[in-house]
Symmetry: C2
Subunit: 372 residues, 2 copies
DNA sequence: AACGCGCCAGTAAACATTTACCCAAACAGC
DNA sequence: GCTGTTTGGGTAAATGTTTACTGGCGCGTT
């Protein structure tokens, strides 16, 4: 009662020992039930009372105890996010987006990274279960079996990328690899490339398979031959890209362009090519996949197929929310991809354009990609 | 009673509707108190009973409800980790380390990223408070005032980097910038560089200040002049590095070497220099700071001062644990730094060594750094 | 005027633990 | 053999919410 600053006293002068719903109720002169209902915006509360309650809440700087809430309501307002690698900048960017969207919707995020290690994956799942997450996004780009057993069994909503079991409570983000990769192949074809190689990801990953398949299909569509010796397996890391480049360099002939299953591979390739005096794009054009920020500062800046992290994050959170809150969850969410042309692609060596281009001392940014 | 596989039946055949401590107690034929004590490893429980309890736990695949636990014990076993940027690969690497160590010690991590935005910072803190984190590591490399008000007031243990208020419950990780940066300057000096520039971070950051100071001091120690026109302010981003490079290139003369306040800046510099036909290290030597993984694949691979993410993560978790569990928390934890020599540093242009070096067609990895 | 119904606030149970306190049994000392 | 002490398990309270149920009050209808 003895408030110093009567109006918006930043901290109530008389501090109750514990700051719970009872304190608010007492100050607002209502029951705790009313306070709870007010906070949860139950429409049956009298606006007059609600106002009193909100004032008391402000006065006391009160916020509800999440633990107690979760305990009784059975909902933790926690979303799990499982990613595979953290070294690949794609994932931090994805995590950031996911966190932003989740927080926007009043959820918190529990992050787990597996490093492709089944043991880590299983402790990850355990942690999620213990914290009673309301849903989990599995962004490892490849299903892992233990998940299904432990999470789906407990009816926890799940989101996968690319592929997942057909089951209630499970959604899948379907990435349209083909569209972006086709743009890439068409871009190369338009520049005059005929022999194009591909560095795959680890083929146990569904996404790696899909990207390779999309490449092969796109080549066919452009009337180009896919040469087996120029399809090399990588593992979506820089090291994998370097190793794949070694292999490629050991072939009797080089392709004039190479597409990669992801940007980290492409960065490894770029590095190794530079070491081997192969110039990009003069001797060899290079296209990555993911379009991580880093691409812009590579030397040269890397042409890449963009898969939007924000789209993925938004779709994942939407899907989970729909399942959790019971509002018409979709089985599939489409994610589009799109070519972003930078400077790692150019005319193939020896073509007229190439020579003409060479003649101009300074390369402009004149090589524009064709949309669709 | 009608178990199929009598021994290690993976899932109990008869599933109790709810799987709580009572179910375990009933199966083990003890009271819930005993179960609780067993789980929490209270030493007074009879080993015989403990064994029965553990078996029941295994049988039922039981794990305690974290919410209830947290509610009654007042401890959430949740650690907050606040970082500034997620685009800078340094932070994901740090987050990864922090998470690993935290999980190792039975804690979960709540991540918040601020993007240097005070609003985001304050919602971040709010989230941490609501989830009742047991401690928070503030890895933004610069104190933010709202933190102190809200978190310290509630006696939540905190860890800062570089600098923080002298208060119980607060520890500071003191990074020894000087040692690593001195190694860098000495390395350059030994190669024959006399004119060395520096690209700072955003100077509102304490860490940026410290790094600049360490550079200036090291220059003095090596008997070298610090030229004001070669000290340019960046902001720890690639873009900042590029802008700083532009400024540097507009000076009437260039230094023969440049050190950067962090690697992202250095990558921006590298990019811009390449665009401007300045070769690294032939025309200009470059040293970064942080030693992110990416350095290895830059063209050329970047010499950098390493600040160990693992060390930071370990120290942060140790400090927080010490505060939380009351075991002799230290006020300060030292973090060392160390030069890692790669290929972005070489002899300055025009020196004898430079010419001699040029003569050898292939550069070896022969330029070795001097330790200490 | 009386009855009924709807609206809305309050009471209390439930959520799954931890832990202070109590009490039974066992053992040792006299 | 009886009593005192110690050992260790059980009972119940407490944690801070949500929510089903209850009940009072006011208004509308017959």
């Amino acid at each position: 009662m003895a408030n110093r600053k009567t109006k918006t006293s930043r901290r109530a002068a008389q501090k109750p020992a514990r700051m719970d719903i009872h304190a608010v109720a007492k100050l607002a002169n209502v029951s705790i039930a009313t306070v709870s209902r007010t906070i949860n915006r139950v429409p049956t509360v009298n606006p007059k009372m609600a106002k009193r309650v909100w004032e008391a809440i402000r006065e006391l700087d009160y916020f509800p105890n999440t633990q107690a809430r979760a305990l009784v309501s059975g909902r933790s307002r926690l979303l799990g996010l499982i990613v595979s690698e953290i070294t690949n900048p794609f994932f931090p960017e994805l995590m950031q987006g996911f966190e932003d969207v989740a927080v926007e919707n009043g959820y918190e995020v529990l992050i787990g990274s597996t490093n492709y290690d089944p043991d880590r994956m299983s402790t990850c799942i355990r942690r999620m279960l213990e914290r009673k997450v309301d849903g989990v996004a599995v962004m490892t780009f490849g299903i892992e079996e233990p998940l299904l057993a432990q999470l789906a069994e407990r009816k926890i909503p799940l989101v996968f990328v690319d592929v997942g079991p057909e089951r209630p409570g499970i959604s899948v983000l379907k990435v349209d690899y083909h569209s972006g990769i086709r743009q890439g192949v068409q871009h190369l074809a338009a520049l005059g490339h005929r022999s194009i190689g591909f560095i795959t990801g680890p083929l146990r990953l569904h996404s790696a398979h899909s990207r390779l398949a999309a490449f092969e299909k796109s080549m066919q569509e452009c009337g180009l031959q896919v040469a087996g010796e120029w399809i090399v397996q990588g593992d979506h890391t820089m090291e994998g890209g370097m190793a794949a480049t070694d292999l490629l360099l050991s072939r009797k002939a080089l392709p004039t362009a190479v597409m990669c299953s992801n940007d980290m591979s492409a960065i490894g390739v770029l590095h190794k090519l530079h070491r081997s005096q192969v110039r990009v794009p003069d001797d060899l054009s290079l296209i990555g996949f993911d379009d991580i920020h880093l691409n812009e500062v590579m030397i040269p800046p890397l042409t890449s197929v963009q898969m939007s992290r924000t789209d993925l994050a938004r779709a994942a959170v939407s899907a989970l929310r729909a399942h959790i809150e019971g509002t018409s969850p979709q089985r599939e969410y489409g994610i589009s991809t799109q070519l972003v042309v930078r400077e790692s692609t150019g005319f193939p060596r020896g073509t007229m354009q190439h020579l003409r281009d060479k003649a101009r001392s300074q390369r402009g940014a004149g090589v524009s990609g064709l949309k669709k």
